[in-house]
């Protein structure tokens, strides 16, 4: 069974077309029993996790077997831990070895003690081929990366259901997904038309969100502005907050439960229902900057002090579920009682949902949430004007506008023409590449991760007194084409002047035009500057490095002290 899984993963990895991947996976589902196939889905979806079998377990074990220098060089080259280990692990077959099934493996890894897990893992790896090892290692280290997104996986599951004449759409699966747990036996039986639809109504789960398309220039002519509501685009993180009976949870836009990071927000939020909004730094209803919010991000257990120093709040812009008691007697006013059960309003239009949202917020007082007001834009000129204002707002918490179709229901995914985002333009800076490192994943073994910097002083003047000096302001590894990737790799190899482990120092001669969303002060970098979402916009093969930008001018333009 494990062999079959390994063959599936390999085939999915090397197959390019989505159609062929779907055939492969459906073939596997049709010919594999429960719960094996459900665990395979969990591995593909990234929902299979073990407490005591992780990346670090693997790293520790390999370093007990392989020269650390050779391991580091190999890992640097291969760019992927599981694959590196799969190749390096010494073969020590035992003639009596019997391969466990996937479900036996999962059960063992979930229940065994840490020391037992290590012993068993060593025994398994000793007896496997490199391909099988890769599969076993991937189950523990996570991030399968066989070129199957979570969304594609759900599409394939829907196709599998349709091939069994089950009345199932990808939306059904999206809506159920976060209420289900591996090995998904109930889901699979339902898809095969031999079981009821799984019931998740009692669970506090994430509901996949409605995503926006960027508003392109040619969209502006297609859009009838009066069909849309406009809102400010707040510069925080998109969240979904779910309150059911006594349970509450806060989810990121991808469905990660981030409740633990914002206990203060959850504690003060008491609106029963499911709400879509933006999490922002906020003190007593006054919104703070993204920089403030950043102090709170990725903190698993924020201290009381941190919570007090950087309080957060929500701006709500949509509702998926509201209290059942909120009824709509007439168009104008909604009434409320204090009952806690909730109802789904996703099928209603945006205008209706916003009315429900406002009414709910009026009934259930909340000190930490604001309502996102909508307004109407009449033409392109007005739209451009408003965006410019939103982007240059001195308080800095809006980063553009949203346009949302008034008559649209709330559908998960990224439907066309429903929501548009019209963000501020990327900013640009000419920086000099200083260091390069090999990439991971599809950029494996190419020098593709770059650190770039700005001149500390104007090099034209500096040159007279001393060697001009660069200070790093950021790192980027995206934004170039595959052809440029190869050219850059070649350039790095030819221009290496020093090595620090896997990092190569290069000649300070090549300029990147770097695009970024925002620049702010940072204590972490010597330059005192950090960029948000930097990516390489253009490679300036033509530009002399001495003409790249300087730090003092950059700081002045971006008001960084």
């Amino acid at each position: 069974m494990m062999n079959k899984l390994s063959e599936l993963f390999d085939a999915l990895y090397f197959t390019a077309s989505n159609k062929a991947k779907s055939v492969l996976l459906r073939e596997y589902l049709a010919t594999t029993c429960d719960p094996e196939r459900g665990w395979a889905i969990a591995a593909l979806a990234g929902t299979l996790q073990f407490t005591h079998y992780k990346r670090n377990t693997v790293k520790k074990l390999i370093l007990e077997r392989v020269d650390p220098v050779l391991f580091a060089l190999s890992y640097d080259y291969v760019g992927e831990m599981s694959e590196t280990v799969a190749h390096l692990w010494p073969n020590e077959p035992d003639p009596d070895f019997v391969m466990p099934t996937l479900s036996e493996f999962v059960a063992f890894m979930q229940t065994a003690k840490k020391s037992e897990i290590e012993t068993q893992l060593i025994y398994l790896l000793n007896n496997c081929s490199p391909n099988l090892r890769w599969t076993l290692l991937k189950l523990g280290t996570g991030g399968l990366r066989v070129g199957l997104s979570a969304r594609r996986l759900k599409h394939i599951l829907a196709e599998y259901g349709q091939s069994h004449q089950a009345a199932v759409t990808v939306h059904d699966i999206e809506n159920l997904w976060h209420g289900l747990t591996p090995p998904y036996t109930d889901l699979l039986l339902w898809l095969e038309n031999s079981g009821p639809k799984p019931d998740i109504s009692e669970k506090v789960v994430f509901h996949p969100v409605l995503l926006a398309h960027p508003l392109q220039e040619d969209d502006k002519e297609k859009v009838t502005y009066t069909d849309y509501l406009a809102e400010y685009k707040y510069d925080g993180i998109r969240v979904q907050i779910v309150v059911k009976d006594t349970e509450k949870a806060l989810f990121s836009r991808t469905g990660d439960n981030i409740s633990h990071s914002f206990p203060d927000v959850l504690a003060d939020f008491n609106l029963p229902g499911v709400y879509d909004g933006e999490l922002l730094a906020m003190r007593e209803g006054v919104i703070g900057s993204f920089n403030d919010l950043q102090q709170r991000l990725n903190k698993k257990k924020p201290s009381k002090k941190l919570q007090a120093e950087y309080p957060c709040g929500l701006v709500l812009y949509d509702a998926l579920f509201v209290p059942t008691s909120i009824v709509e007697p007439k168009k104008e006013k909604l009434t409320c009682q204090t009952e806690q059960s909730i109802k789904n309003i996703c099928h209603l239009t945006l205008v209706e949902r916003k009315r429900y949202l406002r009414a709910t917020m009026q009934c259930f007082e909340s000190t930490i949430s604001l309502f996102s007001e909508a307004f109407t834009v009449h033409n392109t000129a007005e739209l451009d004007q408003l965006r410019t204002e939103a982007c240059s707002d001195p308080s800095g918490y809006t980063e553009g506008l949203m346009l949302k179709r008034k008559d649209s229901p709330y559908t998960p995914g990224r439907p066309k023409g429903v929501w548009y985002k019209f963000k501020r333009d990327a900013q640009l800076v000419d920086a000099v590449i200083m260091y390069a490192q090999r990439g991971h994943g599809k950029r494996s073994s190419f020098y593709s991760d770059f650190t770039f910097g700005l001149w500390q002083n104007d090099p034209a003047q500096d040159a007279l007194s001393e060697q001009p000096k660069l200070l790093p302001i950021g790192k980027a590894y995206s934004g170039f084409t595959d052809i440029e990737l190869k050219e850059l790799d070649k350039w790095v190899r030819k221009n290496t002047i020093g090595r620090f482990g896997p990092v190569k120092e290069v000649n300070k001669t090549l300029v990147f035009e770097v695009a970024f969303d925002a620049a702010h002060a940072s204590k972490r970098h010597k330059s005192g500057v950090a960029l948000r979402f930097p990516r390489i916009h253009r490679i300036r093969w033509d530009k002399p490095a001495l003409e790249a930008d300087t730090l003092p001018i950059f700081k002045k333009t971006h008001q960084i002290k």
Binding site: F14, V66, L73, S74, V78, E80, S444
Partner: protein
């Protein structure tokens, strides 16, 4: 003979911008620019370039250079057989002998002898059996200059039979798909042809135009590849469904391959062991067939030759240098940067 200040190769071998240079013989090995005197280890384009005044190469390598660059690729072409010891130009005698490197047809290692010191430059080489060329021989020497293309312990090349079987299984399973396999035109192409025939594959094998001249050249050296047909001679390309087509790697993703029916792309290269490399080449069927040593072959070669010093050239020098030092050898990296990865 012990190495001394008087004869140590570090005093008479240099890395120059044009390549590896032997000072007393005034001669380069595999230079990447046109020079006065050039020893050429084998016919791959990044090692054998046109336009040198004097070229010393094996007869097969010289024939390959003539196919690639024309009869007059160099005014003075010195054909040197394996094992033939000759004196190179220069006031003080430097002797040179070629030994088989097992890389491709005609590929040679270069033994240089100067003031009693012996230096072997392997060029590209491999140890696994290959019917398309003479097998590598280990030559005792003081300084052993080895390539390190696959110089990382992750590289373990499987037997070619295993990989050919993978191709044949895929042909059986996807009999409606054209199996387009990327192979280097020189060496890999001929080795895959022989491998398919050895595995009992008797159907015609179809070739991209870039392969034809070199396949014909190998045939004049007595190799029998069975029936090979140029794709340009096929009137109805739909007939290629279910057949094997060999093409240079660059043709896998270009317009040429789009005219073939229902293509399944394979790639035959040692790099295919790294999953991401297969993806980067746009291939779905990785065939790990390499004409270089894998890690273990590199280590075995060093032990077998047992030199005083190991110098590591192009490829993953750091790891091999580290390992050679652990094995007790003096090791250094030459950092020749002009050669392609494979």
């Amino acid at each position: 003979m012990p190495l001394t200040k008087h004869n140590h190769p570090e005093h008479w071998i240099q890395v120059r911008p044009a390549g590896l240079y032997c000072i007393p013989a005034e001669t380069y090995i595999d230079p990447w620019q046109a020079v006065e005197n050039a020893i050429i280890t084998h016919g791959h384009a990044d090692h054998a370039r046109a336009g040198h005044e004097n070229v010393w190469a094996t007869p097969a390598t010289m024939a390959i250079m003539r196919v690639r660059y024309g009869e007059q690729h160099s005014p003075a072409q010195h054909h040197i057989e394996f094992g033939e010891r000759i004196q190179l130009p220069g006031a003080e005698p430097v002797f040179m002998t070629f030994y088989p490197a097992g890389h491709i047809l005609g590929s040679a290692q270069v033994l240089l002898e100067y003031r009693g010191a012996r230096l072997v430059m392997t060029g590209d080489y491999k140890r696994t059996p290959d019917p398309s060329c003479e097998p590598f021989v280990a030559i005792p020497c003081d300084v052993f200059i080895t390539e390190a293309t696959f110089g990382l312990p992750v590289f373990q090349h499987p037997p070619i039979q295993h990989e050919i079987q993978k191709l044949l299984s895929s042909l059986a399973r996807f009999s409606e798909r054209t199996h387009l396999v990327g192979v280097y035109a020189l060496g890999k192409c001929q080795r895959v042809l022989l491998g398919l025939r050895e595995a009992g594959y008797t159907k015609p094998i179809y070739l991209h135009g870039a392969m034809l001249k070199l396949v014909q050249l190998y045939q004049t050296f007595g190799f029998d590849f069975g029936e090979c047909i140029a794709v340009s001679d096929v009137s109805d390309l739909n007939l290629l469904a279910g057949e094997v087509v060999l093409a240079p790697p660059s043709a896998l993703t270009d317009r040429w391959s789009r005219k073939l029916p229902n293509v399944l792309t394979g790639m035959a290269s040692g790099w295919m062991q790294i999953r991401a490399r297969t993806k980067q080449k746009g291939a779905e069927l990785p065939l790990m067939i390499s004409d270089h040593c894998d890690w273990q072959e590199l280590l075995d070669s060093i032990s077998e030759v047992n030199p005083q010093e190991v110098w590591v050239t192009h490829g993953r020098e750091d790891a091999l240098m580290h390992q050679a030092q652990k094995m007790g050898y003096v090791a250094r990296a030459l950092r020749l940067v002009g050669y392609d990865d494979e």
